[in-house]
């Protein structure tokens, strides 16, 4: 198998779950779900759906993707210990793809799936709405994870830059300038969700553009991460 390396998959999963970051990663979807259950218990069906659309989709999901993507690659590049994994006859692109797959699984399990669950909890009468949000999260989570993996391969400040991207670019500027929908991952996922259920507002990029853009960002970022690993440079302490 040349695209995926089982050893890298296993070690990345251990790196993800074996450190404190793993706990934070589980805390975020846990909070969203607890919030959903509490709000549902106190209000009518479908009232607190903002938890999915505002808190979950625009904040929890990208942050889960950011933490997962940076956890599988960031620490090893920062402290240089990745050299032990890549001083091997394993194509560096396979290392990048394997790390991506682990981070992607984490994003799906701890980012997209909990949003679907929260949707079901908040409005059990309309499961199509939850499914739409689930698919929206799946699409944008896929692209977020790849983008942040590329970022982690590029700079040791990946977490800060990733947060700035989520909060400033997609959050603040995205709310002010509608044109940003063409260059932001969140709206592409929403576009897919809106194709499934009318309950998701359509950002207006068109389904084809949204899917294509998500695909390009995903493939391009993972390829970029692999290329950065191919040029990984060992710098001595001297």
């Amino acid at each position: 198998m040349t695209v995926l390396n089982p050893t890298i998959l296993r070690l990345s999963a251990q790196a993800l779950l074996g450190r404190r970051r793993g706990l934070v990663l589980m805390l975020i979807p846990g909070l969203v779900l607890v919030l959903a259950v509490v709000v549902r218990a106190l209000t009518e069906e479908g009232v607190g759906y903002d938890i999915v659309s505002e808190v979950g989709y625009t904040l929890a999901l990208p942050i889960v993707a950011l933490l997962a993507a940076s956890a599988v690659l960031g620490p090893e590049i920062d402290d240089g210990s990745i050299v032990y994994l890549i001083a091997k006859p394993v194509p560096r692109h396979a290392v990048a793809v394997s790390k991506y797959v682990v981070a992607w699984l984490a994003t799906v399990a701890l980012g997209a799936f909990p949003l679907f669950l929260a949707g079901v909890v908040l409005d059990a009468s309309e499961p199509g709405r939850a499914v739409a949000w689930g698919f929206a999260s799946l699409v944008s989570g896929t692209a977020y994870t790849a983008l942040f993996l590329g970022l982690a391969a590029l700079t040791r400040h990946a977490v800060v830059i990733g947060l700035l991207y989520v909060l400033l670019w997609e959050g603040l500027l995205g709310a002010l300038l509608t044109g940003i929908r063409w260059l932001a991952i969140g709206p592409w996922g929403l576009q897919v969700g809106s194709a499934i259920s009318d309950a998701v507002d359509e950002p207006g990029t068109g389904l084809t553009y949204a899917l294509l853009a998500a695909l390009v960002v995903t493939a391009g970022s993972v390829w970029f991460a692999g290329d950065r690993l191919r040029s990984f440079t060992l710098r001595g302490d001297e």
């Binding site: 194509p91 440079t233 060992l234 001297e238």
Partner: protein, 308 residues
């Protein structure tokens, strides 16, 4: 049998030159890469292990350029200076993962064999986080040995390792060299390099300062002019006698400090000076009180080699 060739290799970072026009050939046997800290040893090892692209020149393993060539790691085993930070793995898990990444047919057996070589079978069940520096060093070595490489590159392998484990490591390197592997390790301690390496390459300030077997290097380092301060019962008299000696290059009286003067002596041939000084003092009836070398630091030895 493998050979690493460096052909007029330079590497610079912006305005800083880390390695400057180095040509050397590292063949089978143990080679010591000797130089003070910051001389470019780690940069050279990064170049030889394909983890740095040369700014000029070429670095090849048996004729194939190393940069961006992952297949080379079938031949190379690398022990970086960098610590292993896989604290959440046991020693065995780590070595086993290395064996798997090499795609070995029986990674379990290969890991066991490598752990046996470095004498780490028993502690291998514990997490790396609990290891001492010496144990980490040996696990690093095991991970580099797991695929039975014909080239072994080690960056400062003896740093922070206790004396007993140091001897064990040295014996291992000598054994690998005797088996016909190309072994290169870096160190800033001459005695360390002498004990293990047949061939020594000296690097100072990014330049290739000297090359040869340890006898040649030792001679280069001891045959240089050496400065001493001699304090005696009659400095002026001793000074006048010293200048008559062929091994003495220069003599100067020191300014008097606290009633003691002393003589600065420059010596070209350390061996004969050591024999002649007591005889000379006895002949002119001067009592020697102190003899102190003033520039025995390794840096001054290296500086001399570069200026040569």
């Amino acid at each position: 049998m493998s050979t690493i060739e460096l052909e007029a290799v330079s590497r610079w970072y912006g305005n800083v030159v880390a390695v400057n026009g180095i040509t050397m050939s590292i063949g089978p046997g143990v080679t010591g890469l000797l130089g003070p800290n910051g001389a470019g040893k780690s940069t050279l090892i990064a170049l030889m292990s394909g983890f740095l692209s040369p700014s000029a020149g070429s670095v090849t393993l048996d004729g194939t350029a190393l940069w961006r060539h992952t297949e080379a790691y079938r031949t190379i085993g690398l022990v970086p200076e960098r610590e292993i930070s896989f604290d959440y793995l046991t020693g065995r898990q780590f070595v086993l993962a290395n064996a798997e990444l090499h795609g070995l047919p029986d990674p379990g057996a290969a890991a066991q064999r490598a752990l046996e070589i470095v004498d780490m079978v028993e502690p291998a069940a514990r997490r790396i986080g609990t290891y001492s520096k010496g144990m980490r060093q040996r696990v690093k070595l095991a991970s580099a040995l797991v695929h039975d490489p014909s080239v072994l590159l080690l960056d400062e392998p003896f740093n922070g390792v206790d004396p007993r484990q140091r001897l064990h490591l040295m014996a291992l390197l000598q054994r690998f060299g005797a088996e016909g592997r190309t072994v290169l390790f870096s160190s800033h301690i001459l005695e360390e390099v002498e004990q293990v390496a047949r061939q020594i390459e000296v690097v100072v300030s990014g330049r290739h300062a000297a090359s040869g077997d340890f006898g040649e290097i030792r001679r280069l380092m001891t045959d240089r002019p050496v400065q001493y301060v001699v304090v005696s019962s009659d400095d002026r008299r001793l000074a006048s006698a010293l200048i008559g000696e062929p091994s003495v290059v220069a003599v100067a009286l020191r300014p008097e400090i606290g009633g003691r003067r002393g003589v600065d002596v420059s010596v070209s041939d350390l061996g004969s000076f050591a024999v002649q000084l007591p005889r000379l003092a006895r002949d002119c009836g001067v009592r020697l009180l102190e003899l102190t070398p003033t520039d025995e630091s390794l840096e001054s030895v290296f500086a001399y080699l570069v200026g040569r």
